[in-house]
Amino acid sequence: MKEIVVISGKGGTGKTSLTASFAVLGGEDVIVADCDVDAADMHLLLEPDFEESEDFYSGELAYISQNECIQCGKCFDVCRFNGIDVVNGKYTVNELNCEGCGYCARVCPTEAITNKPLKVGKWYTSNIKTGSIMVHAKLGIGADNSGKLVAKVKNEAKEIAEDEFKDYVIVDGSPGVGCPVVSSLSGAKFVVLVTEPSVSGFHDLKRVYELVKKFNIKTGCIINKFDINKTITQKIELFLAKENIVHISSLPYNEDFTKAMTAGLTIVEYSNNQLKELVINSWNTILESVP
């Protein structure tokens, strides 16, 4: 079982549209993990049935029992996160600011403070229209610890792939270079970077690749909308060559991607033209490149 992770640094480069297309092309051999838990969109294209779901708890939140509290203010003094509010001499936890470090509970002389496990979201195992299975999640509003939920989704997908003797897990990662992205990279066999030739697309590509390099994972790149700025496309090509990144493909600017999404379809189901061919070739190149 091999794990392919698709990320982009910058949002909106076409990462999810392409990942969903690859899931369709891979069919039953590919287990899908939607690790963009902040803004999970893959379910809009792959028709999951939400067969199983489970709550996900991670981290803690302090709670002050007013009966035991003697208003000594020690919790307030030690908290670095403005997590304790004092209203009319009454000490309460500011749930938005509380980091769940537990320091306040440790210094409370009357044990008035307890740490409660925090429900940060829900994760699902679904049958999808490709004949395979997708693991996906919904992060609670404003929840912390999305990195841990990413790890959960990924590990579940891997277990299913191993149990069912599937060849691949394909992971749709989140934008950025922070904790959810780090979580989605660990253990990957091949990373697909989806970029676009804009100053920001190229800037973010270089930053996210700096992170990928730390993991020492073989990498490929798809340049989406390559024809909106040929000068930057050339610069990206030079960068790929210099860094030994497989140039998987260059795809043209084409509004069919959006039209397909609006119809709830992936591009390989929606269009029958050259674009479909290019996406199929991209998937084949990825399969050939996975070590």
Partner: protein
């Protein structure tokens, strides 16, 4: 006046709107633009000015001082983030997991874990006429964006008066970095696109901002592509729709080179004017 520019989905045009709106407003007003998408800050690629100030940003982490350490293991016990572990006769600190709560340091019976600064990012401050631009960038490998976002906002509070218009280009998503970037905002402008992905992520962003009791408004980017579901949603939820930036390949091209689109496209300038009217109204109402 603090205005956060946010979106659930990435790549909907937050940076395009932030930079163009900031530049347009600064033609007549004093404006601060601050890029809080510290993982992948892009606004600086579109705003050029003179460097006024530059500083490294630090977070505090414990550093083991083995001389007096009795290896009691208390530090490991009190850390909720597994950022500190005892391995035989050694105490190891994992800085990227540390949340800087100080518990291990202050509860250490022998004071063997003093807190020391560790670089987590860099802040730059540029000035161009009426426009001040501030951006922070997270060091690669550093996982937590929140402390850097918080410190960057503090820099803005310390250096600029309350009455100036401040735009905050926020990170995508709905989790902790977005909360940190929007929780002090007077108004949150959500940028979306009229597609199923755009609508789905907009709904998440709206739920999040309502949870925070924020006043919200929407700007639709790439208007004309996709369908009308986003517009219908805004109407039914009574969310003001401030502007519709048209879908056009030309805009993608101008943006790709790092240029401001409103300078070349009058139809975009008109949309920015609509947003400006909204902001000016908000300021007047706030003053009452």
């Amino acid at each position: 006046m603090k205005i956060a520019i946010a979106s659930g989905k990435g790549g909907t045009g937050k940076t395009t709107l932030s930079t163009n709106l900031a530049a347009y407003l600064s033609e007549h007003e004093e404006v601060v633009l601050c890029d809080l998408d510290v993982e992948e800050p892009n606004s600086g690629l579109f705003i050029k000015g003179n460097l006024v100030h530059k500083q490294d940003m630090y977070k505090m982490i414990p550093e083991w001082n083995e001389n007096d350490c009795k290896l009691c293991g208390n530090c490991q016990k009190v850390c909720n983030f597994h950022a500190i572990i005892q391995l035989g006769p050694t105490i190891m600190v994992f800085p990227e997991l540390c949340h800087s709560c100080y518990a291990c340091s202050e509860l250490c019976p022998t004071s063997s874990l003093p807190m020391v600064p560790k670089k987590m990012g860099e802040l730059v401050h540029y000035q161009k006429d009426n426009l001040s631009f501030i951006e922070s960038k997270l060091v690669i490998g550093e996982e937590q964006a929140v402390p850097l976002i918080a410190q960057t906002q503090k820099y803005i509070d310390d250096n600029f008066q309350n009455n100036i218009i401040k735009l905050f280009d926020s990170p995508p998503g709905t989790s902790c970095p977005v909360i940190e970037a929007t929780k002090d905002a007077d108004v949150v402008i959500l940028v979306t696109e009229p597609t199923p992905f755009g609508l789905h992520d907009l709904k998440l962003a709206v739920e999040t901002m309502r949870e925070l009791n924020k006043k919200i408004a929407v700007v639709v980017n790439r208007y004309g592509i996709g369908n009308d579901d986003v517009i219908d949603y805004c109407n039914s939820e009574k969310i003001p729709l401030l502007a519709k930036i048209p879908n056009s390949r030309r805009i993608a091209e101008i943006y790709s080179s790092g240029n401001l689109i409103y300078k070349e496209l009058p139809e975009v300038k008109q949309q920015l004017e609509n947003i400006k009217i909204f902001i000016m109204n908000e300021i007047e109402e706030g003053a009452k």
